[in-house]
């Protein structure tokens, strides 16, 4: 029973449970992602936040034994509906992983264009424009515009991660999923990505998994705290960090466990 599509609401999970075989790693989670906001998912390792993120673009079902119960609604439409093509769906939801994953055999340009070309042939000028636009939005254009044909592996780790952001943005998704995008970056690279979050949320709905509580506090509008597969608390970021309502949340954000 899908609730009426709210224009303010982009993505929503309804009683989502994610399992590996018979073991549930995300339990009965209902969360809402308002359009053009940043939501941070925090919690200790193994709390299910990454698995939850991977349910939002149907990547979880590609893992060995991965399946879900419940619903995930994108613009009011259940993405797990049998009529929905998971491959097409993933083109509407971009994802960036913990470690930069540029395609090593492709140039910088081809990496960004990869997601566009998979949609079928497009005029050259259109691809050019989309690649430039995506690289600009990922704040990488000025650094790579003179070497678009060079291998993507020639870039630094932080640049590679921004390249992955650009690659995710090029097909014009509605939602951007970031899975600990700064885990392997140095402080400068981390700051770049965090600044990006602020700029990108004017156009995209962002969901970011992070181990870094300061990062969650800096970049997000809403923060959700997961523990052992349960959603413990969700709230506006400043409220969750200053006056959490649950004792577990308070213990975690004050560093008493996790």
């Amino acid at each position: 029973m899908a609730p009426p599509a709210d224009a303010r609401l982009q993505l929503e999970t309804a009683r989502l449970t994610a399992l590996y075989g018979r073991r549930a790693v995300v339990k009965d989670v209902s969360l809402m992602f308002p359009r053009h906001t940043v939501t941070a998912l925090i919690g200790p390792s193994g709390c299910g936040k990454t698995t939850f993120l991977r349910c939002l673009n149907r990547m979880h079902e590609l893992s060995e034994g991965g399946w879900i119960t419940g619903n995930v609604l994108l613009d009011g439409e259940d993405i797990y509906d049998p009529g929905v093509d998971a491959i097409r769906l993933r083109r509407r939801i971009g994802m960036v992983f913990q470690r930069p994953t540029p395609f090593p055999t492709m140039s910088i340009y081809d990496n960004v264009a990869a997601g566009l070309r998979v949609n079928g042939g497009r005029p050259r000028a259109e691809v050019d424009a989309a690649v430039e636009g995506a690289l600009r939005r990922a704040a990488l254009w000025d650094e790579v515009k003179d070497r678009l044909r060079h291998s993507a592996l020639a870039l630094s780790g932080g640049q590679q991660q921004r390249l992955c952001v650009a690659r995710a943005l090029a097909p014009e998704p509605d939602v951007l999923l970031l899975d600990e995008p700064t885990a392997s970056l140095d402080p400068a690279g981390t700051q770049h990505i965090e600044e990006l979050c602020h700029e990108l949320k004017t156009r995209y709905t962002i969901c970011i998994v992070t181990h870094n509580l300061q990062q969650a506090a800096r970049v997000s509008d809403y923060t959700a705290f997961f523990y052992l597969g349960d959603l413990i608390e969700i709230g506006r970021t400043e409220e969750l960090f200053t006056k959490p309502t649950k004792e577990q949340t308070e213990a975690y954000i004050t560093g008493r466990f996790g």
């Binding site: 992983f97 470690r99 998979v118």
Partner: protein, 282 residues
């Protein structure tokens, strides 16, 4: 404390020396073979050796042009048949081969890999030469392709498995269908390794003699028809080396040197191919 350090140094030194000696022995075999080939065969190498066909026994001169061309044709045709099948099987094993069928294919490939090449020759004779009624280069190529396929399949599988899982996920998250992920991202990333595997596989079968004995048979004349018997360097060496004439023995050494040179050239090409890929990726 210092006694322990001394003991460590001595053991370390002894082990290093041992390993060095063993590597030397391994390299020595290659050096000896190559050196012996050069000393026995190089003097017979001249222009006519490469461009002339064999002359009747007893006469001086003549070359192995027919065998060189035959080797290129038979091995080339074998590669044409074997490479797509071998690489395709390898991709299948790596990407979809986790089930029962994958297990069976892998097992068959391993058994085939250990099959003596002469058995493969007999197989080709039974299924191709006998029904066709005559020996042919094509039958020889098929026999060599059968030898190549399991080798290529397992190498390709290994190379594809080396590609990090994160790349596959990145492609799938971009909305790549699975087959496209396999071809555009995984296979392309593993390409350098696959190319090397192919060249090594080709080099391996280029020197095979046994499977050609009753398939391609050999031919004293120059022939480029794949439906007719054809000469190869390995067959020529076999005939010349076991023959009674000194002139033949001399030519056998020279032909062996040429064959070795061809294989070496392929290996070098393999190295070069890898370096190109790596150079482009860095």
């Amino acid at each position: 404390m210092s006694a322990r350090r001394l003991r460590r140094r001595i053991v370390s030194g002894a082990m290093t020396a041992l390993v060095a000696v063993l590597s030397f022995v391994a390299v020595l075999a290659l050096v000896l073979i190559l050196g012996y080939l050069v000393s026995k065969g190089a003097s017979s190498l001249d222009w006519s050796f490469f461009v002339k066909n064999p002359v009747p026994a007893g006469q001086a001169g003549g070359g192995v042009a027919n065998a060189i061309v035959g080797t290129v044709i038979i091995v080339g045709l074998a590669a044409l048949i074997g490479l797509p099948i071998g690489i395709g099987t390898g991709l299948y094993l790596a990407e979809y081969g986790s089930g029962r069928l994958g297990w069976v294919v892998r097992f068959v490939a391993d058994v085939l890999n250990g099959t003596p090449s002469i058995v493969v020759g007999i197989f080709a004779w039974t299924w191709l030469v006998k029904p066709m009624g005559h020996f042919s280069a094509l039958a020889g190529s098929v026999a060599l392709a059968v030898l190549m396929v399991p080798m290529l399949a397992r190498t390709t599988e290994e190379m594809v498995r080396l590609v990090p899982h994160s790349l596959r996920e990145a492609a799938l998250a971009l909305g790549y269908p699975r087959w496209r992920t396999s071809l555009r991202v995984i296979a392309r990333t593993a390409l350098a390794g696959i190319v090397t595997g192919c060249l090594v596989g080709i080099a391996r079968v280029a020197g095979e003699t046994a499977p050609l004995l009753f398939t391609a048979l050999g031919n004293l004349n120059f022939s480029t028809s794949v439906l007719q018997p054809m000469q190869t360097l390995s067959l020529q060496i076999y005939v010349y080396a076991t023959g009674p004439f000194d002139e033949w023995h001399r030519l056998a050494w020279a032909a062996a040197l040429v064959l070795m040179g061809l294989v070496l050239l392929l290996s070098l090409a393999a190295r070069w191919a890898i370096r190109q890929r790596h150079g482009a990726a860095r």
